[in-house]
């Protein structure tokens, strides 16, 4: 190495400045590119009830236990049936008009659906979200024989909004997607927003 010492120092300095400039350019470029692709709105995860097939993954794949997915009831769609297949197991035949049957004759494994007599053969069904585990059994029953007024939604007061939703990965129907945080629910019936 015949170069004088200061030439070497200068060269090292130059390399360093060049690297810094390249780095600044790179980060700046990415920032500029991102500025064109950035949106103010945050995203949250939600499942589309129209695509949902009630496979049961929502209850088991969520990182929370119980799952952040709960059943939601669209009262406007509900038939207020006496023999509700979201409430009773299929082929259930009640002996008489009973307001609250025993646990074994309820479809919900955690008895999260409450039933209240309204008038005539009509009953109102409400969900106890603290008990609901999001298994979707009632959703399946209501969809098969009823109006489909029960459906699953992730409840954002519980959902921790993972960057990658564990249920979305496991969903066989590809029903999960990121939705703008301003419209965090994909509701059924009259409340439907796209």
């Amino acid at each position: 190495m015949s170069e004088p010492e200061n030439a070497k120092v200068k060269r090292r300095d130059l390399i360093r400045k060049g690297a810094l400039a390249t780095g600044l350019l790179g980060v700046g470029g990415t920032a500029a590119l991102l500025a064109t692709r950035a949106g103010k709105d945050r995203y949250v995860w939600q499942l589309d009830p129209e695509k949902c097939i009630q496979c049961g993954n929502c209850a088991t794949k969520c990182v929370l236990r119980p799952s952040a997915v709960k059943v939601v009831h669209a009262f406007a769609l509900c038939g207020y049936c006496d023999l509700c297949f979201g409430y009773f197991p299929p082929h259930f035949e009640p002996d008489s008009a009973i307001e609250e049957p025993a646990a074994e004759s309820q479809l919900c494994p955690t008895q999260a659906i409450n039933r209240k007599w309204v008038e005539g053969p009509h009953f109102e069904y409400t969900i106890d979200e603290d008990l609901c585990i999001g298994c979707g059994k009632c959703v399946k029953g209501c969809g098969n024989f009823g109006n489909g007024s029960l459906f699953l939604q992730t409840r954002h007061n519980r959902c921790v909004n993972c960057n990658e939703c564990a249920i979305a990965i496991a969903c066989p129907a590809q029903a999960w997607r990121r939705v703008p945080a301003g419209h965090p629910y994909l509701l059924k019936g009259e409340d439907r927003q796209t």
């Binding site: 950035a38 236990r65 519980r158």
Partner: protein, 391 residues
């Protein structure tokens, strides 16, 4: 976002101007409590790489401003002050830093080899996020499930603790146990964000230094770094050894196209298996098998597909497009891996002279542990009137 900026500034000032391990530790603990346990570790800078990749590749997704800030701010800081983000702001780093008890030295060859993993992981993370297949960095984040254990923001939901991620919890526990004896294993060898920071930190304008003044080569700091970031002064090579290095470099550079091509070809081959990561491709495959009668019965996935009434042609077209994207992306990924290996080999065969004990700007996470080992630093603190801290 203001919290992120404030913490970055605090960590940078503490690492470079104040030089206080104790204060840095406090910032780190605060970040662990806030970004980790309070916010549940999501979204973090490490995961934001994927949101950025997806935003750049998919016109239907706009990256939220907060996520963009998480991605960009630490990078800007790294350009000026090195990896202070890792020292005081990253909750993943903080969690690993806190459990270090008896760090063992990792041999150089292993350190160099494992160090490549982070770049490979970065490439894979970007590839799968950009093609919409998966966010693997989040899926296999070993620490986020630990952060979720203590959801401080949701005190009523303490029962949520053990979620559907028991396997990841066990993995996280393993990382922490390993981290007691190997300093920050995830940060050093896996973190894809750390890989970007390493590149940028090499150009950093101001750096965290072991000594506040001139190094006196007392060797006291030699074993101070639990993360193997302190480089010793080089020994003058014996005369006549230089040409060998030159020859090695020449061989490497002439082999460069071969390595890159091999990487690209391998990646091209991997494109097809990679595509199976995407749910649409998996679905199309399964539907094809079912219709050909090669498998018995249906699964949830195909039931949902038949029920939706979508046509097979569109599904096959979609799957084909995704597959082509992943084959192209796979080739790029292979090129990237080839490039990483090549740059590493070239880097290893260039000999640089070092007169003092220095912190390698790429490996140093600015934790400040080495400060107290330096007698010059102790002298400085004594002059200031404070008692020097024990190393």
């Amino acid at each position: 976002m203001p919290v992120l900026a404030a913490m970055l500034i605090a960590a940078s000032v503490l690492a470079i101007r104040v030089r206080s391990r104790r204060w840095l530790w406090s910032v780190m603990a605060a970040s662990l409590a806030y970004f980790g346990l309070w916010r549940g570790g999501c979204v973090c800078a490490v995961g934001s790489i994927q949101n950025v990749a997806m935003a750049l590749a998919d016109p239907g997704y706009a990256v939220p401003l907060s996520v963009a800030a998480f991605f960009l701010l630490p990078l800007v800081f790294a350009l000026f002050v090195g990896r202070t983000f890792c020292a005081g702001v990253c909750p993943l780093g903080a969690l690993q830093d806190i459990v270090v008890v008896r760090p063992l030295k990792v041999p150089a060859w292993l350190e160099h080899t494992l160090g490549l993993l982070a770049y490979v992981y970065l490439g894979a993370g970007v590839l799968f996020a950009a093609t919409g297949a998966a966010f693997i960095i989040c899926e296999y984040d070993p620490f986020v499930s630990i952060f979720r254990l203590l959801p401080l923001a949701r005190p009523g939901a303490a029962v949520d603790a053990f979620g559907g991620s028991t396997a990841m919890l066990i993995l996280g526990g393993c990382f922490l146990v390993a981290g007691m004896f190997i300093g920050r294993p995830y940060c050093r060898w896996l973190c894809p964000y750390g890989a970007i920071l390493k590149l940028l930190a090499r150009a950093a304008m101001w750096r965290t230094t072991i000594t506040p003044d001139e190094c006196i080569r007392c060797r006291l700091c030699e074993d101070a770094c639990p993360f193997g970031a302190i480089r010793q002064p080089t020994v003058e090579p014996p005369h006549g050894s230089l040409p060998i290095d030159r020859r090695r470099l020449a061989i490497l550079l002439s082999l460069a196209p071969v390595v890159l091509l091999a990487g690209g070809a391998l990646g091209w081959q991997l494109g097809r298996p990679f595509a199976r990561m995407h749910v649409t491709v998996r679905l199309a495959d399964r539907v094809r098998l079912e219709e050909a009668g090669k498998v018995e019965g249906t699964v949830d996935m195909t039931d949902a597909f038949y029920a939706s009434g979508a046509s097979r042609e569109t599904l096959d077209a979609d799957a084909g497009a995704i597959e082509r994207k992943l084959v192209r992306g796979g080739a790029l990924f292979g090129l990237w891996v080839g490039l990483v290996i090549l740059v590493k080999l070239v880097h290893l065969s260039i000999r640089r002279r070092r007169d003092n004990y220095e912190a390698d700007p790429a490996a140093c996470v600015s934790c400040g542990r080495c400060f107290a080992y330096c007698p010059v630093e102790r002298e400085r603190l004594k002059k200031r009137g404070g008692a020097p801290p024990q190393p």
